[in-house]
Assembly symmetry: C2
Homo-oligomer: 329 residues x 2
Amino acid sequence: MPSPIEAEIHRHAQRINAVLESLIPPDRKDFLSEPSWYHLATGGKRIRPALCLMVCEAFGGDSDRALPFAAAVELMHNMLLVHDDIADGDTVRRNKPAVWVKYGLGNGVNVGDYLLARGLHAVMMSPVEPATRVKLLEVYLETFERTVEGQALDINFRCNERFTAEEYLRMAILKTGHYLVIGMLGGALVAGASEAVLHCLRKLGENLGPAFQIRDDLIDLTAGKGRGGVKGSDVREGKPSILYAHALSHSSPGECERLLDILRKPREETTEQDVAWVIGLYERCGALKFAQQMADKLIAEALKELDTLPVEQQPGLRRIITYIAERTT
Amino acid sequence: MPSPIEAEIHRHAQRINAVLESLIPPDRKDFLSEPSWYHLATGGKRIRPALCLMVCEAFGGDSDRALPFAAAVELMHNMLLVHDDIADGDTVRRNKPAVWVKYGLGNGVNVGDYLLARGLHAVMMSPVEPATRVKLLEVYLETFERTVEGQALDINFRCNERFTAEEYLRMAILKTGHYLVIGMLGGALVAGASEAVLHCLRKLGENLGPAFQIRDDLIDLTAGKGRGGVKGSDVREGKPSILYAHALSHSSPGECERLLDILRKPREETTEQDVAWVIGLYERCGALKFAQQMADKLIAEALKELDTLPVEQQPGLRRIITYIAERTT
C-alpha cells in the first residue's frame, strides 16, 4: 500500500512519462529512440521530476507549466547514468546490461548526448515567461556543468593517496548536490517562488547531496548497490569514498599501503577476501562510524535550513524533504 | 605567404583563442582544463568560428558581439571530435593520441560533456538582445541534435548490406550539413541578417556538408586522413561511405560479399591487400567517379544557391564559400 506521497509521485510519474514519450517517440527507427527507451524504461519511478511538480504546486504554481522542465530533469539524470556507466566500466544497470554493453560504446556515448539534447529542447519549450525560461536554462546548464566537474574529481581522485574528507565533500557537492535539487529549483522558479526559497533549496542540495552519497557509499559495503547485488563495487572500482578518505588519515602506513594496493587492482582481480579486509579496516579505523555521523549531521543541517523560510512556506517543502531523506536511494 | 582571407582568418583566430582561454582557463587544476586544452590546442586554425565573425561583418554586424558564439562553435566542434574518436575507436587525432587514449575513457566522455557545457555557457552570455540570444541557442541546440542524429546513422549503418546513396546523403546532411554552417548562421543572426540569408546558409550546409564528406571519403582512399597518414581508415572501420553505398548496388553478388567480409573484419585484421582490393572494386564499379561527380554537383548547387540572395549581399558570402569549397579539409 503506497503512502499518500508515493501515490502522488506515481500520479506525477504518469504525466512525466507522457511528456517523455512526446519528446522521444518510442517507435522511431533512428537508432536513438530504442536505446533511449531501453534506458528510460529501466527506472520508472521518476522521483526527481515528480519532486519538480510537487515543489511547483507547494509554492502555488501551475505544475503543467513545469512539466517540460521536469521531463528535462529526468533526461539529464538518464544521460548522466549512461555516461557514468561508461566512465566506471559498469556493465550492469538496474539488473540489465548497461546501454554501452547492449548497443556498443559508440552508441552509449551518442545516446547520452542525445538525451541531453532532448532535455535542453524540453527546457526551451517550457510554457513560461521568456525571463523564467532563461532562468530555467541557467539552472539546467549550471547543474549539468557542476555535475561534470564533480565527475572529473570522482574519476581522477581514484586511488589518490592524498585524498581527504574535505575533498570528498567538495566532490560530492559538485557531483550530487546541484543535481539533487535541480527539479525542485525548476518547480520553484515556475511557481515564482522567492529568492529565499531558491537559496534554501540550493543549501538543501549542498547538504543532502553529500549525505545521500555517503549513505550510498555505506550501502555499497553492507548490501551492495543493486548492480547484481555485489558488495564492495566501490572497492573494486577504486572509487574515492569518504570511508577511503578517512581510512587514509587514520590507519598505519602498512594498512594504507595494502588499502591502496587493493583499490588499484583491476576489478576482476579483486577478491572477496580483499573486499572483506577493506571493510574490516574501515571498521577498525572508525571510518564507518565517521561516515554515518557525517551523513546524520548533514541531514540535520539540511532540515535546519528549512527553518530559515517564512513559517507558512515550511510545511510543503518539509514534507518533501523528509520523504527523500528517509528513502535509501 | 598567406592569402588575404587566410590572414583574416588568422587574425580572427587570435580573438577566438582569447575567448576560449577566458571560458576554460588553461591552468586550472580541475582535471578538465588540461585535457580540454590538450585537445583544443591541436587544431589551432579556428576556421569554423572565424567564419562566424567574417559572416557577421559581411552583413554589417559588430563581430565582437558574435565572439562568444564563435567560441561556442569551436567548443562544440571539439566536443564532437572527442566523442567521435571514442565511437570510432580512433586512437590518433592530428598525429597525437586521442583524448580518451591519453586520459582514459571516463575522462574522454566527461571532457566532451564539459566542452559542450562551456559552449552552451558561452552562447548564454552572448552580448545581444534576449530575442537574438534565444535564436542563437536554438541554432546551437538544433545543430547539436541533428549532428547526434547523423552520428547515430553513421554508427549503425556500418556494414549494413542495404545501405544506399540516398541514405548516405541523409546521414551526411544530418552529421555534417548543419554543423558546417552553424558559425555562419550565428554570425548572420548577430548581424540581424534577413530570413533569406539564413535560408541560403541552411541550404549551403545541406549541399556543402555532404560534398565535403564525400571528398573526405575520397581522400581517405587516396592520401589517408592524417591519422598517421594511413590509407583506407574508413574501410578498416567499416564506415558507411558513399563509395560503399554505390558499390553495393553496382557489383556482383560475389564482390558484394567479399566487400562486406572485409568491412566487417576487426580493424587490426584488415590487411593492405584488403584495402587495395576494395579500392580496386570502387574503381571498377564506377564508385570513385560517381562520388567525385556527386561532390562536384553538390558544390555547384551550393554556389547557385548564392544567386537567390539580393545582388548586394552576394559578394561577401561568395568570397567565404569559395574559400571553404576550395579547401580540402
